[in-house]
Each structure stands twice: as structure tokens, then as C-alpha cells.
């Protein structure tokens, strides 16, 4: 299945602004994050800590809604889902 990943600000500079990932059916949000961590390489330190966990300040969305950290392993994505990843907002 296809998952779109949008990254913004510093994370966009690391991951690109709009990625298309091809994942096996039934993939969880945790699987998406593992894929992104591998892509990011060393630069991923801004997003993931040394254990590979998403840093606490990172905001994660699925189809425009915030995803709770507790759901990462259980949240199964669907074909066409949009995942977004960004640092704290700074508009205004």
C-alpha cells in the first residue's frame, strides 16, 4: 500500500517535503517511523533519539489528526493515508 509522508521545516530538510512510501498491507505507524529513521540516517538525530524513539517535541499526524505516542504499535495504516511529521509550530 502507498503512504504519503509530509515533513515540515527542519524535518523537511532532512526527509524531503513529500515522500511516497510503499509498505506491506497491515503496516503500523511504528513501521513507518522505522522506515523514516533509516532514510534519515545520521541527520535523523533531530527527529529520533539514540534508542530510535521519536523525540518528545516531534508532532506526528495521520490524515491531519494528531497521533498519540501510545498508539504507534497498534495504529494500522490504510492505503492512501497521509502521515505528517513536524517540529513545534512557530507561526504568527
Amino acid at each position: 500500500m502507498k503512504i504519503r509522508v509530509k515533513a515540515f521545516a527542519r524535518f523537511r530538510e532532512i526527509l524531503g517535503s513529500d515522500l511516497a512510501l510503499d509498505l506491506s498491507d497491515g503496516a503500523t505507524m511504528a513501521a513507518v517511523l522505522t522506515t523514516l529513521r533509516d532514510r534519515a540516517g545520521d541527520e535523523g538525530d533531530a527527529i529520533f533519539d539514540e534508542t530510535g524513539t521519536l523525540r518528545t517535541h516531534v508532532i506526528l499526524m495521520r490524515n491531519g489528526r494528531r497521533v498519540n505516542r501510545k498508539e504507534l504499535d497498534t495504529l494500522v495504516l490504510a492505503d492512501g493515508d497521509e502521515v505528517a511529521l513536524f517540529p513545534p509550530v512557530a507561526g504568527g
Binding site: 515540515f8 521545516a9 516531534v58 505528517a84 513536524f86 513545534p88 509550530v89 512557530a90 504568527g92
Partner: protein
């Protein structure tokens, strides 16, 4: 009107358009690119669908919470120079107290929840402006 734009924001025409007969007070907040320690320009980016939805939610919340008649919010993105308007918020109300309170509430909320980011460009470098908000709830 709620919007994200790449064009210059015209405060005068937005204020005129916001006026309705029952209004006695319009309070406007205009955010501007500040020359902060040598900033020359700024680039703003947005997660547009989510930003529009958040701005609408902020407007609806303010309309419920305060005795006001209207809320307009336009946020600019793209490349901006020092002195250019980043953001315009207009709150119209029968009376001034509510207009001031609602306008200040709206800008505080906007800085916490609307997915927009700013990168400042200096003569010799650049930096992402840190957000005011904390991390994930």
C-alpha cells in the same frame, strides 16, 4: 475570512471588509517581520489543510467564548522581507473590551496550534525560529 496567502496582506481593505453595522470596535493584530539582530528576510512554510482547519477552529472557539461579531485571520507564507505583514487578525465587536480580549486570545492560540514555521535568514546564516508551544500532548 480565514486564509493562507502568498501575496501581500492589505490591512486597510480587510478592515473595511470586516465592518458590520452592529460593530463599534475593531481590534487588529498585525504581525510583522522584525529586524531582530540582523534578520534580512524570512521564509514561512505551512501544512496548509491542517492550518486552515486550525484557524477555523480558533475563530469558532473565539466566537463562542467572547461577545464578538466577527473574526478574520489571514496568514502569509513564502519569502518575506523585514517590515512585511506576516499575519493579520481582525476582531469586530459591539464593544472594545471583548474585541481586545478575543484578539489577544486568538494570537496566543494561533502560536500554539497552527502548523506554520519560520526560517530567518541573516547575512551570514539562517535558523529555524523555535516554536512557543511545547511538544506533543
Amino acid at each position: 475570512m480565514i486564509g493562507i496567502t502568498r501575496d501581500v496582506i492589505d490591512a486597510g481593505s480587510m478592515i473595511e471588509a470586516a465592518k458590520k453595522p452592529g460593530m463599534g470596535a475593531l481590534v487588529t493584530f498585525c504581525g510583522v517581520v522584525r529586524d531582530d539582530g540582523g534578520v534580512e528576510r524570512m521564509e514561512l512554510e505551512v501544512y496548509e489543510e491542517v492550518a486552515i482547519r486550525e484557524l477555523e477552529a480558533i475563530r469558532d472557539e473565539a466566537m463562542q467564548k467572547y461577545a464578538i461579531e466577527s473574526v478574520d485571520i489571514v496568514h502569509r507564507v513564502g519569502s518575506l522581507s523585514v517590515g512585511e505583514t506576516i499575519l493579520l487578525i481582525i476582531v469586530g465587536a459591539g464593544h472594545r473590551k471583548e474585541a481586545f480580549a478575543a484578539c489577544e486570545h486568538i494570537i496566543d492560540r494561533l502560536k500554539q496550534t497552527v502548523p506554520i514555521w519560520k526560517k530567518e535568514f541573516y547575512r551570514d546564516g539562517e535558523r529555524w525560529v523555535p516554536g512557543e508551544a511545547g511538544g506533543q500532548e
